[in-house]
């Protein structure tokens, strides 16, 4: 590689890393406990347990559950009914002051899926895991914070790519995995940075990039509303919201019949962010780790319970949904979570050693920059 090219990539690697390092360290440190969010929540917060039932017990009627929930909050509205992937015997109802209110302020009620009994109303917002999650996703600054972290993630991705390009010239003189423990601290930390960077690269790239995609979730949802949802409900464009609501149980049954190979993940009520103002949107999912992310909304006319339309989500929503498990590491049991945590720790070491290398070199900025080996170029002995 030409000296000039290497210099250019060094410059890119230095600056993209420097700008994002502080935020990446925050993301790696807050992300570490978040890998085990479910376990921590179970450990720290007691929840009412659903009744033990024999396999094959049918679920309770949703209309009864909905009536129970609304009786607890008269004058308020259901926004979502959710069958959580991690709580197969539970159904959650999200309640808001208005049908189109911001879901962030929802109250969440847990019901026993089989008996239909009210279990509890956990205060998710006050949980330490939730506070960590907010810091991790948007620095407590809403959409702007989220997009800012997405930008930092993009810089991280560029830092990774430039790191790969520089790895070639750096390693000309060394065998893979050499850590010169007996040499200067700078050489040692550079070797550590190179070794750990080289082994974690694809994981860091994947988690970094899927994290960036996740920051676009709000925008992706908006585009879907304007694009596919508007198209599916075009005939209802000027319809008034239904005066009386058809049975949500019927809506779910109809959706199951329309997609017999799928199961419902959640129902979005009319006017909520995931539906039109005239429809129940029943989001169906598959049953493998991958197909459980490939959703298919079934739109049910909320005034009479009949099927309006059903289509698979467009590619950009699917890309978002598939990128989520790849960021969270929650799709392969506890061993995968532990591996995720170890790789996260290695990434922290790469970040810290990288920062150290910059500090050391910046202090010696009067000395010639430690140039990597370039065939034909004069050797500098600063590094090794």
């Amino acid at each position: 590689m030409h000296v000039k090219t290497i210099r250019r990539w060094s410059w890119i690697h230095k600056w993209t890393s420097l700008i994002c390092t502080a935020f990446l360290l925050m993301l790696c440190v807050t992300g570490l406990p978040l890998i085990f969010k479910d376990e921590l929540d179970d450990l720290l917060y007691a929840q009412a347990e659903p009744a033990q039932v024999s396999p094959g017990t049918p679920p309770a009627n949703l209309d009864t559950i909905v009536a129970d929930a609304l009786a607890r909050y008269p004058g308020e509205f259901i926004q979502f009914i959710v069958w959580p992937l991690d709580e197969p015997d539970i159904v959650r109802l999200a309640i808001a002051k208005a049908p189109d209110a911001n879901p962030e302020n929802n109250k969440v009620l847990r019901f026993d899926l089989h008996t239909g009994k009210f279990l509890d109303e956990p205060d998710y917002d006050s949980r330490v895991t939730h506070v960590l999650l907010e810091l991790h996703t948007d620095l407590f600054a809403g959409l702007p914070g989220k997009l800012f972290l997405g930008l930092m993630g993009l810089l991280f991705v560029v830092a990774i790519v430039s790191g790969v390009i520089l790895y070639g010239p750096w390693m000309r003189k060394l065998d893979f995995g050499t850590v010169r423990w007996d040499r200067t601290r700078l050489a040692r930390w550079l070797d550590l940075h190179n070794l750990l960077g080289a082994v974690t690269i694809l994981w860091a790239f994947t988690v970094g990039f899927t994290g960036v995609i996740n920051t676009w979730a709000d925008l992706v949802l908006k585009i879907w509303q304007i694009d596919q949802l508007a198209d599916m409900t075009a005939a209802y464009k000027n319809a008034t919201p239904p005066a009386t609501m058809a049975s949500v149980q019927v809506a779910v049954d109809t959706s199951r019949k329309a997609s017999p190979e799928m199961v419902p993940l959640f129902v979005a009520y009319p006017a909520s962010p995931f539906s039109s103002k005239s429809h129940y949107a029943v989001f169906m999912r598959g049953e493998t780790p991958l197909t459980s992310r490939l959703l298919k909304p079934v739109l049910i006319d909320a005034s009479n319970g009949t099927l309006t339309d059903s289509r698979h989500l467009p590619w950009y929503v699917t890309a978002l949904l598939v990128s989520q498990p790849l960021h969270f590491g929650d799709y392969g049991g506890m061993p995968l979570k532990i591996i995720w945590a170890l790789l996260d720790v290695l990434t922290i070491v790469v970040l810290v050693t990288g920062l150290y290398l910059w500090v050391k070199r910046a202090r010696r900025s009067t000395a010639p920059a430690p140039a990597p080996y370039v065939p034909g170029a004069k050797q500098s002995s600063t590094v090794s």
Binding site: D182, W203, G332
Partner: protein
């Protein structure tokens, strides 16, 4: 690995191990997405490979002995 003369390692040698680990990582990430049980176990094995390699080389470096101070070195 056969030792090459200093400074003459071609890119395919330099990137052999990182590329292999990259392929394993990618396969491991996909595997747990595609199915459960066996697929999960495969995924754990493949994703543990980079960690194992890092630990292996770190241990090798430790074994070679702790740092010895030399006159005139930068630290």
């Amino acid at each position: 690995m056969k030792r090459l003369p200093v400074g003459t390692r071609p890119l395919r040698v330099i990137f052999a191990v990182p590329a292999a680990l990259g392929v394993l990582t990618a396969a491991g990430l996909m595997s747990a997405l595609l199915g459960d049980d066996l697929w999960d176990a495969l995924s754990w094995l493949m994703l543990a490979a980079p960690i194992a390699v890092a630990v292996w080389y770190l241990c090798a470096a430790f074994k070679k002995g702790p740092r010895t101070t030399r006159p005139g070195e930068l630290s």
